[in-house]
């Protein structure tokens, strides 16, 4: 089992990259050294009265420099506090957590479609860098675009906006259809309705599909059983068809779980 580290991570820099979306680089040598694409970290509030860590996916891990990048949306008081951190501030982290995307499903000679929606987009950056096969990226924004430069580093990049401000008007599936995009395997991260639609799309088109799930978490390491999802197979922990998103996931084969 991969090692988990508790690190006091110094903030290197932080910037707002879109409305309510922040990008923070943190010095976290051990986590950076072992993080795989699709894993996440628990970020603890500096306010001790906030009892639950915030699970945030890793956008980039720079092993050589010993730093990680998190891109997150301000959704409440905890993430609002993180967004006010400046260079030099310290945040407690636990990670890397979860299983991550199965990179071996897209070896050289195969083509992967990386699909992200909203705040599910950031982990695709590290995923694209880690895959040996060809990469094609499709993302959906509400309105404002972010991480476009990072997502264009490998293969072709397509996007949709709900508002129609740029790219395809609509969602990621509209974008896939409009551009006639095809691949051997899908890796997706985003809101549940998007993942549900992709699961159906992949089944119809007989494409292997992996999805990264989200749920409210407490411990983040598989002890408290807060963040479960219904699974087709009997789960190893409780033997009741409830996989733990934080530990057995967050990435699952789409047909394996109820979305």
């Amino acid at each position: 089992m991969a090692e988990k580290y508790m690190e006091n991570a110094r903030v290197i820099s932080q910037e707002q990259i879109a409305d309510g979306i922040y990008s923070i680089w943190l010095e976290a040598e051990q986590i950076a050294g072992s993080a795989a694409p699709g894993q996440f970290v628990s970020v603890y509030s500096r306010d001790k009265s906030r009892m639950l860590p915030r699970p945030i996916s890793i956008c980039e891990a720079d092993r050589d420099q010993g730093r990680i990048r998190l891109v997150y949306r301000v959704a409440g008081a905890g993430t609002a506090e993180f967004s006010r951190c400046d260079a030099g501030d310290v945040l407690e982290l636990l990670g890397p957590l979860g299983n991550g995307f199965p990179l071996e499903r897209c070896p050289a000679g195969k083509k992967a479609m990386l699909i992200g929606g909203g705040i599910g987009i950031p982990p695709l950056v590290q995923l694209a860098a880690g895959l040996e096969g060809d990469v094609l990226t499709v993302v959906g924004y509400r309105d404002e675009q972010f991480l476009t430069e990072e997502l264009s580093r490998r293969g072709s990049f397509f996007f949709a906006t709900e508002s129609g401000r740029a790219g395809t008007k609509g969602n990621v599936l509209d974008c896939i259809r409009e551009n006639g995009l095809k691949a051997d395997v899908i890796y997706a991260c985003g809101p549940a309705p998007m993942l549900r639609a992709l699961k159906a799309y992949a089944a119809e088109n007989k494409i292997e599909c992996w999805v990264s799930m989200e749920e409210r978490m407490a411990c983040g390491i598989g002890a408290c059983l807060a963040c479960v999802c219904r699974s087709k197979e009997i789960d190893g922990h409780s033997q009741v068809h409830n996989k733990r998103i934080c530990k057995d996931g967050p990435v699952f084969r789409a047909e394996e779980i109820e979305i």
Partner: protein, 301 residues
Amino acid sequence: MSDMKVQIAGVELKNPVMTASGTFGSGMEYGELIDLSRLGAVVTKGVANVPWPGNPTPRIAETPSGMMNAIGLQNPGIETFCARDLPFLAQFDTKVIVNVCGRTTEDYCEVVERLGDEPADLLEINISCPNVRCGGISFGQDPSSVEAITREIKRHAKQPVIMKLSPNVTDITEIARAAEAGGADAVSLINTLTGMKIDVKRRTFALANRTGGVSGPAIHPIAVRMVWQTAQAVKIPIIGMGGIASAEDALEFILAGATAVSVGTANFRNPKTTLEVIDGIEKYLKEQGTKSVRELIGAVR
């Protein structure tokens, strides 16, 4: 060296700090982050006679200085637990307290009996879970039913029995006396307080179960008060819990009458909380020139 040892029903703990049931699994996950052998005891998540799937999600929400949960006692059932979790815990130099849940008296007795020859030092009986429709709290709110189920469980149990009490009652001392009358070797309190959170954006309940159990620092003073009241009412040892996040929080329980304490929600905030509480109590004993932690038990009357 300060003497940190305490005894509960003849079982000696190396220190009075244990984990609170449901927050720590069977220690496998937290065991990757801390040395379980440092703990006075590991209290496992509740186990029933058969696997339970628990409640729909969302199962948790953060609340001011705390959280609310309605996991619904998801557990693998006693057979998997005995084959996997108990052998895991047996590797560590710590006491093992198995928390037992059930829907009927027979369910509880079946689990308790199955544990008779297993490496469990103490049994903690959950008659106080607010998040399941049958069993749990329904046994724990009426003194006569508490006495009856305690007596029945004691008839089947080889190990000493701790009854875990609910704070969702008018007078917890009545319930504690009933457990004592039924033959309980100890009581642990408090379980979570029933609460509700509304998601105003979605205009619905924050938890799928609608209500959940509130835990964390927010409930600490309520728990200390209940432990103190119970300490005046019964002679059996008390395990105190509710919102412990520091050694000071734990010491309040001990001074109020608890022989041992459990750390729950704070494990989520800081996986090392139990160890920090142990170190902090030791430091306090040294600073105060107190030889043994046992001198503190119930010192505030």
